[in-house]
């Protein structure tokens, strides 16, 4: 962010054209090129972002399948969203997913990054081991986890079973049980903590060792050094990552679609899955649009809350 204001004060590369008396005013010329080169984004922003977002608001006022029927219904869909029990179910599921996955994944990623940064041998090997699961994602991974969660002969219960049986406890039936299905999707998300880990590891390496030496002279324990030096300096990175994770986690879709199709008994119905079902399965595109806006507002609220909270815990002074 700081770099924006910084660039404002610097002169543009073509400002010297100002002096050489060309017929076209140099700054105009530079601006011309600026708009020309930025035009892919400007056009894309209008056609694929602003346009659709406004259109979405309007589509939300129609009962339409985009083919046979288009009836104006006003704000009915928007009112519906608030009283629809399925939307509420999807909202609660997605909220539980987001509020568990984001903090736990952040802590897990930090822990792994700090461990790997202790000068251990074969660091790049371990880094790869932890990072690789986050490179692969999508359908293949969902199929794999569906197999791992298989209650009788899956990997998970083949490990848990022998531990739990002596206590007369049956291992959970994971994605086939209403109470364990959502936790299953959550546990599976921890496997992807390596993505954030890599970012934190890069951040840790950027912390100058002189700071640790200073802390050492002050007699800080390694525990204190972590909380007084490492963590504060890492907060901008953590913050950036948490914001992106909040947005990403609210859009969870593939796992829910491939592994459980939202079931059993809507236990894993997520917001985007519900929007998909409403629009692209049941062809209520108007209602799907209204739900999408509803979700957008919710995500926006959490992002704004995160941004607001930043001033109290994110340290922007760089040493």
């Amino acid at each position: 962010m700081a770099s924006i204001s910084e660039s404002q004060t610097q002169r543009g590369p073509f400002s010297h054209f100002m002096r050489d008396g060309k017929p076209m005013k140099p700054s105009t010329r530079e601006a011309w090129y600026g708009y020309l080169l930025a035009s892919p984004w400007i056009i894309g922003f209008i056609v694929f972002t602003v346009g659709p977002m406004l259109a979405s608001l309007v589509i939300g006022m129609y009962r339409t399948d985009f083919l046979t029927e288009t009836t104006f219904v006003g704000f009915r869909w928007y009112q519906n969203v608030l009283s629809d029990s399925l939307v509420r179910k999807a909202l609660i599921n997605t909220a539980i997913f987001s509020f568990t996955v984001v903090p736990i994944n952040t802590a897990l990623a930090l822990l792994i990054a700090v461990m790997l940064n202790q000068g251990i041998r074969l660091q790049s090997f371990w880094r790869t081991v932890y990072y690789l699961p986050s490179v692969v994602s999508g359908v293949a991974v969902s199929l794999l986890w569906k197999w791992l969660y298989q209650p009788d002969i899956g990997l998970l219960n083949s490990v848990l079973g022998p531990i739990l049986r002596p206590f007369d406890i049956d291992p959970p039936r994971w994605i086939f049980s209403t109470e364990w299905a959502l936790p299953s999707l959550i546990f599976m998300a921890f496997w992807g903590a390596g993505g954030a880990m890599l970012i934190y590891l890069a951040g840790l390496r950027g912390i100058p060792t002189s700071l640790y030496e200073a802390a050492e002279i002050d007699g800080a324990s390694s525990f204190r050094r972590f909380f007084a030096v490492t963590l504060p300096l890492l907060t901008p990175t953590i913050f950036f990552n948490v914001v992106l994770n909040i947005i990403g986690s609210w859009q969870v879709f593939t796992q829910a679609m491939v592994m459980t199709r939202g079931g059993p008994n809507n236990a894993t119905l997520t917001m985007v899955l519900h929007i998909y079902n409403t629009g692209f399965q049941n062809f209520y595109f108007g209602y799907a649009s209204a739900q999408a806006w509803f979700l957008f507002v919710i995500v926006l609220i959490f992002v704004i809350l995160a941004l607001r909270s930043a001033s109290s815990w994110v340290h922007y002074e760089r040493v």
Binding site: H16, Y33, G34, G44, G51, P52, G138, V139, I153, V272
Partner: protein, 295 residues
């Protein structure tokens, strides 16, 4: 290198404050124990995937499950290709990923350059908007863009998956702009003395220097498109046009009692991204440093 220095100070500090060598050793043992144990937990799903894909049918469904295949059956890797046109799926995914990545790299580098180097009214406001769209959830545009592509008669083609990426996706604009900011301005001056206009400056100076950043954009975009499921699900029609992701899901429906073939297909499905990662590991890390840490 920094890490070795830190370890040095840790040991030094331990001695200084009278921690015994034993405490230090114990700490190292616990640390390595945690790293190895965690590593095993993270790696085991991959192992289970591979172990399943080569097991004989009689062994896969045994209870309790067994860890090591009694013999290796590689023919399960052929099954996906025999049942569905999986080779075609790979081709389709490659086409979509490559088409999107090239477009994203070209457009976002041009736009990133203009944000980093040219001055024009509203530029900084526009860049703030770029940052804002980075945190915009995708799904808000799901329905209206679908309507747009219906109107354009693009449903059933790959255009809805590829073309939007030719219009400078926000994250990559941010990444390229951050990269261009690090190129010394002296280079600009010398190019201008040679009479370069901004396009020449971009083409001759900045583009050749930004190949590492372009690599990052290409890798990220290819991986994202390869793994994508929602958009192909909405826009692609007809099995021969399926991507690998759609093909895997289709395959699952037909192979409920052939777990080996399903896992073999999944391995093949994730293999390209893993290979890409190993070949481009340095770029991966660098892209993350540029995008993540400087945020």
């Amino acid at each position: 290198m920094a890490t070795t220095v830190q370890t040095g100070t840790a040991v030094h500090q331990a001695e200084q404050y009278g921690h015994s060598r034993l405490t230090e050793t114990l700490y190292r043992v616990l640390l390595y124990g945690a790293v190895v144990l965690g590593g095993i937990v993270f790696a085991i799903p991959f192992y289970w995937m591979m172990r399943t894909s080569v097991m004989p049918t009689t062994q896969v469904y045994l209870f309790p499950p067994e860890w090591w295949p009694e013999r290796f059956e590689w023919h399960h890797f052929k099954t996906p290709f025999a049942v569905f046109p999986f080779a075609k799926f790979f081709l389709n995914s490659t086409f979509i990923a490559a088409g999107s990545a090239i477009g994203a790299a070209l457009s976002s580098s041009v736009v990133g350059f203009s944000f980093a180097r040219l001055r024009f009214p509203l530029r900084d406001i526009m860049f703030v908007v770029v940052l804002a769209t980075m945190i915009l959830p995708e799904h808000v545009r799901l329905v209206p863009t679908y309507l747009l592509f219906v109107e354009l008669d693009w449903i059933g083609t790959y255009r809805p998956l590829i073309i939007p990426n030719w219009f400078a996706p926000a994250f990559y604009v941010f990444l390229m702009r951050q990269f261009f900011m690090t190129i010394p301005r002296e280079l600009d001056d010398s190019a201008m003395i040679d009479g370069c206009n901004p396009i020449g400056l971009f083409w001759r100076i900045h583009l050749p220097l930004s190949l590492p950043a372009l690599g990052v954009v290409l890798i990220f975009m290819v991986t994202a498109q390869w793994n994508d499921f929602l958009y192909p699900l909405i826009y692609i029609q007809g099995v021969p046009n399926y991507t690998v992701a759609l093909g895997l899901r289709l395959f699952e429906g037909h192979m409920t009692n052939n777990m080996q073939a399903l896992m073999a297909a999944s391995i093949l499905g994730v293999l390209p991204t893993i290979i890409l990662f190993f070949f481009a590991q340095r770029h991966f890390v660098q892209g993350i440093v540029v995008s993540g840490v400087k945020g």
